[in-house]
């Protein structure tokens, strides 16, 4: 099967696979940092912050990612903001990640019993100290499996960046196909490479889930 695919084409796919990983990794890291603030806002007692965060999360989760990418790439230039292909793709994926991860973080924090907050509070810890030293270290165990689940979805969703011409793995597969006509082989190989990226992650999620449930 690989035999009918030129070495250069295979190398092109591998190289763009690293672009896919880079794009997803960028969105995952930046999105998670944003998500942390969003989650704090959505749990805050300060109503405006809470509703702003809530509104943002609903808006992002309630519209297609592809539309968000188009909005960034075709929409923003109309108001004078020029966005590169990478900027649009990475931006949309990051904003998406922020919304989804903030819900994972919020669910994790809220899964910790109120009595843990009380115990910390009664010892004189500030809200931030309680969160940082008592709640978060416990909540993170709850957050890890769904976060990894989200990361695999993100890797696959990053293929939507190909629609605005950004060259990641899916776009590369299309380019090779258009040139060689070997769509079946090319997309099989590309699909396999997506699988090789995602499968270890979902195995890791399963492993973590088992380990974390044992600790209870």
């Amino acid at each position: 099967m690989f035999g009918s695919l030129a070495f250069d084409d295979l190398a092109f796919l591998v190289r763009t696979a690293t672009v896919t990983v880079g794009l997803s990794g960028f969105a995952m890291v930046c999105g998670t940092i944003l998500a942390l603030f969003l989650a704090l806002a959505s749990m805050s007692k300060y109503a405006p912050a809470k509703y702003l965060a809530w509104g943002y999360i609903q808006l992002v989760r309630g519209s297609p990612l592809l539309m968000q990418i188009f909005f960034m790439f075709f929409g923003l230039p109309a108001v004078g903001i020029d966005v590169s292909m990478f900027g649009a793709a990475a931006g949309a994926l990051t904003l998406n990640t922020a919304a989804f991860m903030s819900e994972i973080i919020r669910a994790g924090v809220q899964s910790i019993k109120r009595t843990q907050w009380e115990a910390a509070e009664a010892l004189g810890l500030t809200r931030y100290q309680s969160l940082r030293h008592v709640i978060f270290p416990q909540a993170i165990r709850v957050m890890i499996p769904p976060s990894i689940g989200y990361a695999t979805a993100l890797i696959k969703n990053s293929s939507l960046a190909s629609t605005i011409g950004f060259i990641e793995m899916t776009r590369a597969a299309r380019i090779i196909t258009e040139r060689t006509g070997k769509g079946l082989v090319v997309f099989s190989v590309a699909g396999l490479m997506y699988f090789l990226l995602c499968y270890p992650l979902s195995q890791l999620a399963r492993h973590m889930e088992r380990r974390l449930s044992l600790r209870k």
Binding site: A119, G124, L125, V134, P137
Partner: protein, 243 residues
């Protein structure tokens, strides 16, 4: 040391504390008894403001912990004086016994790591668990966990300790080890407010007793008087059931 003045508290329409007045002198032990649902735990939780009150005032060393305008910093300063141990221990499950005890002195009092370790070891010895310092809470029995919780509260050098039915969740054979730690504390002169169903223990350590029923203080006074010679019919009825 602690004063509650005309305290009223509602949970929704449920009137849980009705005109509660009491005071606790430094170095004395107050035991609060009463049927379940009478508001004992709520009363205790109001003292370090885990619950807020709707009317009246609660003073710690003359300073109000119940006032609405209290800043978080002022509240923490008052809470520092008050140690609280709950029925369900609430140890931090992700930390070792030693770290459970060291956390607050380090973060709140700003003590150095070495000093905290020393303090923690001292307290663990006091509650008879010096061999468990590196264990995680889940590896301990209920009685051991509760003793760690007491040590954790003591590490903040509180001036008064609140005990909220600390033996109610324990197997009967483990109750004693926790009570004896509390008895030792009482003998050392710690100011304590204890909600308990352990009447034998209450009789032994209490200086004063409050009998609470339906959120109201029915009777309060010297332990010997209330236990031996209750004036109110409701107190007599309750005591005859539990003693």
């Amino acid at each position: 040391m602690i004063q509650m003045i005309n305290v009223e508290k509602y949970f929704g329409t449920n009137h849980v504390l009705r005109n509660v007045n009491l005071s606790v002198e430094r170095g004395t032990v107050l035991v609060i008894v009463g049927p379940s649902g009478s508001g004992k735990s709520t009363l205790l939780r109001c003292i370090n403001r885990l619950e807020s009150i709707d009317k009246g005032e609660i003073l710690i060393d003359g300073k109000s912990i119940s006032s609405k305008g209290l800043k978080p910093r002022e509240l923490r300063a008052l809470r520092e004086k008050v140690g609280y141990v709950a029925q369900s221990f609430n140890l931090f499950p992700h930390l070792t016994v030693l770290d459970n005890i060291r956390l607050a002195p380090r973060l709140v009092l700003g003590k150095g790591a070495e000093e905290c370790t020393e303090l923690a070891c001292e307290l663990l010895e006091k509650v008879g668990l010096d061999d468990k310092r590196d264990a995680f809470p889940e590896e301990l029995s209920g009685g051991q966990q509760q003793r760690v919780a007491i040590a954790r509260a003591l590490a903040m050098h509180p001036e008064v300790m609140l005990f909220d039915e600390v033996t109610s969740a324990l197997d009967p054979e483990l109750v004693h080890e926790v009570l004896s730690v509390m008895e030792e504390l009482a003998n050392e002169g710690m100011t304590m407010i204890v909600v308990t169903h352990e009447m034998g223990f209450a009789r032994k350590v209490a200086d004063n007793v409050v009998f609470l029923d339906q959120g109201m203080i029915v009777e309060q006074g010297k332990a010997s008087e209330v236990f031996e010679n209750p004036k109110e019919a409701r107190t007599r009825a309750f005591l005859s059931k539990v003693l």
